[in-house]
Homo-oligomer: 189 residues x 2
């Protein structure tokens, strides 16, 4: 499990691939743009934390002094766009030739599957950091590789598959990662 | 702001009004029932926490040693039901004659308003603890009182309004608070 790092540290991290901005921050800015322009209401869920100890140094102040990161049981982002329920997770891939399925938890696959079955739009937003490329990977494609991996043991999705079965998202200025443009092409044509 | 209490303490709290179970726990059980029976995919969002300090006593262990509760910018529950986006917050009311609007933040009202404008189903689930009654309060009714309160200064919704303009949810065994039955009556008739 990857522990989310503390915000302040993130901001100082330099990452040439995406101009010093990490994926989460870029998506949050994108969602803020969509919200402020009345295009969609999509938010990141808070990081789940198991709180063990809380101190109350004064009546109205609570300080959490012991807590642990929990594995999320769902995905990080959800909301509504054009009346449709949207649900996705964002993944950074540092590999050259394939996206390892180890980046996704069984919980998340199951969750996205259920979302799709109930009529929602489910996908992964994958950043290929070495190429500075973003893709919307529809749940069907993820699921195909996931189910096959249980049979043939292949634990990754090749870069080629992203070129042919996923949808490229061109990075922009405002919004940063205009993934709803791709949603329009796939689901609202 | 009300600080959420630590889980372990909650479980031991005795509350005659709802048989020892607090509202959050009852709704979580309800949502679990809906999920397991493939009726809906609705989850509680994690409590937002601002993480300030993290210790790493060993390579794979992260202990949060300083963190603070943050005010949520949205509501606690969202998901999908019959292809529709659902969004709500749950409120416990300990008063006898009215539901104080102080229980709701301006952020939450704005969020629910946006959800409704984008075609989602937005409401409050209000527990009247003294009467052991549950109501689904549609966003329109909340909004009417919210906007009037800015003009006439009346800062609560009378119990009478719940009787006439909200929808009673009969408490059950499984699921505990069958609010989707009421959603069916209002939105899917």
């Amino acid at each position: 499990m990857n522990f989310p790092t503390v915000k302040k540290q993130n901001k100082k991290r330099i990452n040439k691939a995406n101009l010093g901005m990490d994926l989460e921050e870029a998506i949050n800015q994108t969602n803020e743009y969509y919200l402020n322009n009345d295009i969609a209401v999509i938010h990141k869920k808070p990081t789940p934390v198991q709180i063990v100890k809380v101190d109350y140094p004064s009546r109205n102040k609570a300080v959490i002094t012991e807590a642990y990161y929990k594995t999320p049981s769902t995905t990080d982002y959800n909301g509504i766009y054009k009346g449709k329920y949207i649900d996705f997770d964002a993944k950074e891939n540092h590999n050259k030739t394939a996206f390892p399925l180890a980046n996704v938890s069984a919980h998340q696959v199951l969750h996205l599957k259920k979302v799709q079955e109930h009529g929602g739009i489910a996908f992964l937003l994958v950043a290929w950091n070495l190429y500075n490329e973003y893709y919307l990977l529809p749940f069907e494609v993820l699921n195909e590789y996931w189910e096959n991996s249980l049979k043939d043991g292949r634990k990754s999705i090749p870069y080629e598959t992203f070129k042919t079965k996923a949808y490229s998202i061109s990075e922009g200025y405002l919004p940063r990662i205009p993934y709803l443009k791709v949603i329009d092409e796939i689901y609202f044509k």
